[in-house]
């Protein structure tokens, strides 16, 4: 088992003919993801890599190819529309890779998704991978291996780092989910934690947070109150200065709120394992899974 994506995932790629879209579509196809269609307005009727039909609209792609999941690689200015188009067309899971989406756009997109009952991952996220089954987004497939650990993270390359260390230590993953670094995103830690709690194949979870906001604190509370499985957490940004945005639009300490310390304390308080260094995650997992 896995969460959000599996062998039944039928993927449409929005922006399939763009630089990033085409590169990652090939990667996903190589990994075994069922890429059933692509969308690029004006290129309807063509084929990607001589096999994947391209449509002008997501609506057509869904109608013609039964896509149930979409991944978005369009420029920031069109990303809000792309997300809403996917939801409107009947897609169940929308994964928006695009970085740089204006936050005000998300104040429209977020309630739209809620109204439609559609799960949105991102924007500004690396997507997700259920090793051995399906990969949607840009997480490198070769660093992952199937196994019992669920991973959820606000970061991209830091996720790779941790997955890599876990894989090297022989700890495979059910699903690795990057929820994205933007301040308003579709799916939060708690959504993923509760999915992992329900997933029978996941036996422990790694949660990678960073400075900014209070999602990690709330997630820690959720872990204590609702979860039976062990959770190990890591927070990036202990050395981040207040008031500066650390790359991710959401990674900012405002006043005294959103610091790494505060988040690590919340982890401690609610019984999560707290990794001081990335490398500590593996050890803590082993300890807690005994």
């Amino acid at each position: 088992m896995s969460i959000f994506i599996d062998d039944n995932t039928r993927l449409v790629v929005q922006g399939i003919t763009g630089r990033d879209g085409s590169f990652h579509s090939k990667q996903m196809m190589e990994y075994g993801t069922h890429v059933v269609s692509g969308v690029t307005p004006g290129k309807g009727g063509q084929k990607f890599e001589n096999s994947v039909p391209i449509f002008n609209t997501v609506y057509e792609a869904v109608r013609e190819t039964g896509a149930n999941t979409s991944v978005i690689y369009v420029p920031p200015v069109g990303a809000a529309d792309a997300m809403m188009e996917a939801a409107d067309a009947g897609i169940e899971l929308v994964v928006c890779i695009t970085e740089g989406v204006p936050v005000l756009d998300m104040t429209f997109v977020y309630p739209f998704m809620k109204e439609k009952g559609v799960r949105l991952l991102g924007p500004n996220c690396p997507g997700l991978i259920s090793p051995g089954k399906s990969k949607v987004g840009i997480i490198p497939g070769r660093i992952c291996t199937p196994g019992p650990i669920g991973l959820v993270s606000r970061s991209g390359t830091l996720t790779y780092e941790l997955v890599y260390q876990m894989t090297r230590a022989g700890m495979g993953q059910t699903t690795c989910v990057g929820i994205g670094g933007d301040p308003i995103n579709g799916t939060n830690f708690i959504d993923c934690l509760s999915a992992f709690e329900r997933d029978p194949d996941t036996t422990a979870v790694v949660m990678i947070g960073e400075i900014g906001g209070t999602d990690e604190q709330e997630a820690a509370k959720f872990v204590k109150e609702k979860m039976t499985k062990p959770v190990v957490g890591f927070i990036a940004g202990q050395t981040a200065p207040p008031g500066r945005r650390m790359g991710h639009a959401g990674a900012i300490i405002s006043g005294s709120s959103g610091t790494a310390l505060e988040k690590m304390q919340a982890f401690e308080e609610h019984g999560l394992g707290v990794a001081e260094r990335p490398i500590d995650v593996v050890g803590l997992l082993k300890e807690r899974m005994k």
Partner: protein, 393 residues
Amino acid sequence: MRLARGQAITGAKLNIHEYQAKEIFRSHGVPIPPGDVATTPEEAESIARQFGGTVVVKAQVHAGGRGKAGGVKLAKTAQEAKDVASKILGMKIKGITVEKVLVTPAADIATEAYVGIILDRVSKKPVFMVSPAGGIEIEEVAATTPEKIMRLPIDSRYGLRGYQAMELGFFLYSDVKQVRAAATIMQDLYHAFMDSGASLAEINPLVTTPAGEVLALDAKMVIDDNELARRPSIAALRDESSEDPSEVAARQANLTFIKLDGNVGCIVNGAGLAMATMDLVKYYGGDPANFLDIGGSSNPEKVVSALRIITSDPNVKAILFNIFGGITRTDDVANGIVTATKANPLKVPIVIRLTGTNEEIAVKILTANGFSAMTDMDEAVKKAVALATGKAA
């Protein structure tokens, strides 16, 4: 009461000057007394003479607490305006040199209130914050008298509704005329906020005059960087003279860079990994000199720019590369290092950690050019700290 600011989506975005924010607010209908910008004491004098009467001379810098720092002064005559301006121009406020002052007629003030809109990550909405206790920083009000702040999240699908604007107005005033005037200002401010792609818009203070008028005496606005591509007129408001030159250079090279005071220069791909790298530098006894994310697409030129920016910081005693190749091709990074160091030989030691996409090619390139490469993050950080601090790794 939770202070929304703690959840505000603000900070390292585009700050614009008070006079620019005022221009935007004014164009949306907010009543704001006139004002003009001076870059010399003489200009300030002539502006003050035109207005006649007492004026306020205000430093135009992107920093809070101007008043306390002496950046805001009254001047009763044009001559006095010149004197005051000559003191303010050139002074440093929170490390930033004042290049411009705004000269504006002094208003008679009966009451001072605070009105602000921030983008809030918890409610995922623009949130109004208003307080009848204006003129001081809202954080201070929140700390001492939180009951004097009203927070009102706005659903941008419906916009700021008239009844909400009135509720905000009633929180500030009891006279219904002033309530209505304030409600109109809330609407104007909301439109300015939305139309500019702001993450913060603030009037502090919003004053009433003895005659009962409601006026905005100060204006502040922060723009979401992601909005600039579709709002060229807002993007044009950027004043690079008020920013750190190394950050300007980084932005021009499409790098995300924040200067700090440490001794280990860090060049990383990905924001989360960059922060984790800095934390690890600290963990092992070093101090990160910066946050620098080269981003996903790693063409060698970006690496060259990154090295140029890092090496221009005299505090940097060692350079640490930490690259996890996913989209980023590690061979591109290796080529960038070789190119940059050939053009400008390094004066400080360098530690390179890379793994992932095209790792084998990268290692070959580096080795052929006299660099050694590591694959373990922890080891690499330890080594860089040792080199920077002069202690054995």
